[in-house]
Amino acid sequence: MAATELQAAVREHDGVAVIDLRGDVNSSAEIALNEAYAEAASRGTGSVALNFEHADYINSTGIALIVGLLAQARTNGIEVKAFGLSDHYREIFEITRLADFMTITD
């Protein structure tokens, strides 16, 4: 039940800057997510992948943060990918059409 503040760590893998998300993607995740994105973008890899494997909870505010990140990436000409989503959140990414603007893999 206890909320877990998001931790976002950046690493590079096969020419992609991977952001490993751990915790809740909600209003308290804003700073961590934005900082991680800024760092990932600075790697100059041209693409950023969000790893949701350990993100247990994503709410509408979290969706808005991801929309913000996507908008930023568009401006920067960076491709955004996502993986590790549970079936439930993958469905939400489809319903919200986020899936149309990012490549989602398992």
Binding site: M1, A2, A3, N26, S27, S28, Y57, N59, S60, T61, I63, A64, L65, V67, G68, L70, A71, R74, D87, H88, E91, I92, I95, T96, R97, L98, D100, F101
Partner: protein, 537 residues
């Protein structure tokens, strides 16, 4: 006759002896001459038996007993002793010195003294009895007043009502003994939705026990709000109590913290009777080691855990139950209590059953020896916690304080409320998301994240329909119409990235509607059950 009486009284003053406890205090005005010390007759003195068996006036000078009292009487110049005997018991003695005329006492004098003694003894006895009764009544009144004070203190510090936990039944019972022992119990709502349970017992009785009980309860409540681990809470309470604990007093206490959403119970024990937990496998004790509170500072308290599954129940109790005696002085004991628990589901039913068994054991009308306290908590077994209502069954009804992140509580409580309906896991996930979003909206827009404006949630089930109502006290007119967010516009910066909540709610359940009954607004989420659509698109 009057003259003789006066003359006798004059002499009596000089030689009055009083017999042990039966003596009556002097009521007369200040004596004419210095009062000689009364002659005490020890219970082992042969004179006592002689006086009790004497048929009338006794010539002291003729007594040849090896008796300290006789020697004293002779030394005081007593010539005649007139025992005052009532119902075979010596209650006083009239001691007479020599006659003023220096003549011996005549047979008339002796007869008069005999008559006097025969009448004075019962009168004196009546006076003594009245006095004893007055003293007893005063003592009894003081005692009753003290008990009343103790009772008031105890009652003041017991919970006025028990919290309503959806999916749980909590019941408690407290009955003080006539002499009011130091039992107490408490149920403490904790900030994160968990609940603390306390049962304790202060050694000693009456006002001192009640005062220590009230102090323990207050320190425990304060510590429980600040500390999470039950062992730490007991450590802290022990540290507070030790310096001021009266000699020979201590407190036994069990403290457990329950997470109602998971059934997880963490507990620590300061020497209190072990609680019982009843599961599908039988009844077991919940053991954790620790010294009673207030004996010694720096004591550690072991912490243990248990998880209560639906249908499981716990009984916390005080020693007034197991230490009750039957007419043959046999104790009720732990095995009987364990047996009773094994035969009874739990909750109020368990308390009633234990009380019934106790009454049968002690015999009708037996005086209760010690305070009796019981607290039971039972996790509902799904089908059992449904309450009939015009809308179907209410599976759960609860409030969530309006604070960021609390939608998670609502999601988990709804999840556990519908656990027994056999809904597919993916649909449960969608329902949880809808509940979470509706609760967030209510907390943010309806209640403006104000602690005094909680969000109420009801889970209703009827036939093929499950409904979750999320209500706040906001203005129904403020609720925007849900619309499909324009993702392109958001990505191009022409729209705020936010605004997904109502859209998600609509997509996650079969039906979502807003009503404004009862002055606030309610978002009702509905799922069709038994193949009633997947609700996901």
């Amino acid at each position: 006759m009057a003259a003789i009486r006066r003359s006798l009284r004059g002499r009596l003053r000089r030689g009055t002896a009083e017999a042990g406890t039966a003596a009556a205090p002097q009521r007369e005005a200040a004596p004419l001459a210095p009062e000689p010390a009364p002659v005490e007759i020890a219970p082992t003195d042969p004179l006592l038996a002689l006086f009790e068996g004497a048929s009338g006036v006794v010539d002291v000078e003729e007594l040849e007993l090896d008796s300290p009292a006789v020697r004293e009487l002779k030394a005081a110049g007593v010539k005649l002793a007139v025992p005052l005997v009532s119902q075979g018991e010596l209650i006083g003695v009239l001691n007479l010195g020599p006659r003023l005329s220096e003549q011996d006492y005549s047979s008339d004098d002796r007869k008069l003294l005999d008559n006097l003694a025969a009448q004075a003894a019962p009168a004196l006895r009546v006076g003594q009895l009245v006095r004893e009764q007055e003293a007893e009544a005063a003592t009894r009144q003081r005692f009753e007043q003290e008990l009343e004070v103790a009772r008031l203190i105890q009652q003041h510090f017991l919970p006025k009502e028990l919290p309503d936990l959806p999916g749980w039944q909590i019941a408690s019972y407290y009955r003080p003994a006539r002499e009011v022992g130091g039992d107490f119990y408490d149920v403490i709502p904790l900030p994160d939705g968990r609940v603390g349970f306390v049962v304790g017992d202060v050694t000693d009785k009456g006002v001192p026990a009640a005062l220590v009980m009230s102090a323990t309860r207050s320190v425990l409540r304060a510590s429980a709000q600040r500390l999470i681990e039950p062992g730490e809470v007991l450590e802290r309470v022990n540290e507070h109590l030790c310096p001021d604990m009266p000699e020979k007093m201590f407190v036994t206490c069990l403290y457990g913290v329950l997470d109602p959403s998971t059934g997880h119970l963490r507990f620590a024990n300061a020497g209190h009777d072990l609680p019982y937990v009843k599961t599908a496998d039988g009844v077991v004790e919940l053991r954790a080691r620790g010294m009673p509170l207030g004996l010694m500072p720096g004591m550690p308290y072991e912490e243990k855990e248990a998880t209560l599954q639906p249908g499981d129940s716990v009984l916390l109790h005080s020693d007034g139950v197991v230490e009750a005696h039957d007419p043959d002085r046999d104790m009720f004991g732990f095995p009987r209590l364990k047996e009773t628990m094994a035969d009874t589901p739990g909750g109020q039913q368990l308390i009633d059953r234990v009380l019934h068994d106790l009454e049968v054991f002690t015999g009708p009308g037996a005086e209760q020896e010690d305070d009796i306290t019981m607290v039971t908590l039972q996790r509902s077994a799904g089908e059992r916690h449904a309450v009939a209502s015009s809308n179907g069954s209410v599976l759960a009804e609860f409030e969530v304080p309006s604070a960021p992140g609390n939608e998670r509580q609502a999601m988990e409580l709804v999840e556990s409320a519908v656990a027994d309906l056999g809904i597919e896991a993916a649909r449960i996930e969608r329902l949880k998301t809808a509940v979470g979003e509706a609760t967030m909206n209510a907390m943010e827009h309806g209640s403006e994240y104000r602690a005094d404006r909680p969000v109420s949630i009801r889970v209703l089930h009827s036939g093929d329909r499950l409904r979750v109502q999320v209500s706040d006290r906001g203005d129904p007119a403020d609720l925007p119409e849900p619309e499909t967010p324009d993702l392109e516009a958001k990505l191009e910066g022409r729209q705020e990235p936010r605004g997904w909540g109502l859209f998600l709610i609509e997509k996650m359940v079969d039906e979502a509607r807003v009503t404004s009954e009862g002055g606030g607004r309610t978002v009702e989420l509905a799922l069709r059950l038994e193949g009633g659509g997947d609700g996901g698109d």
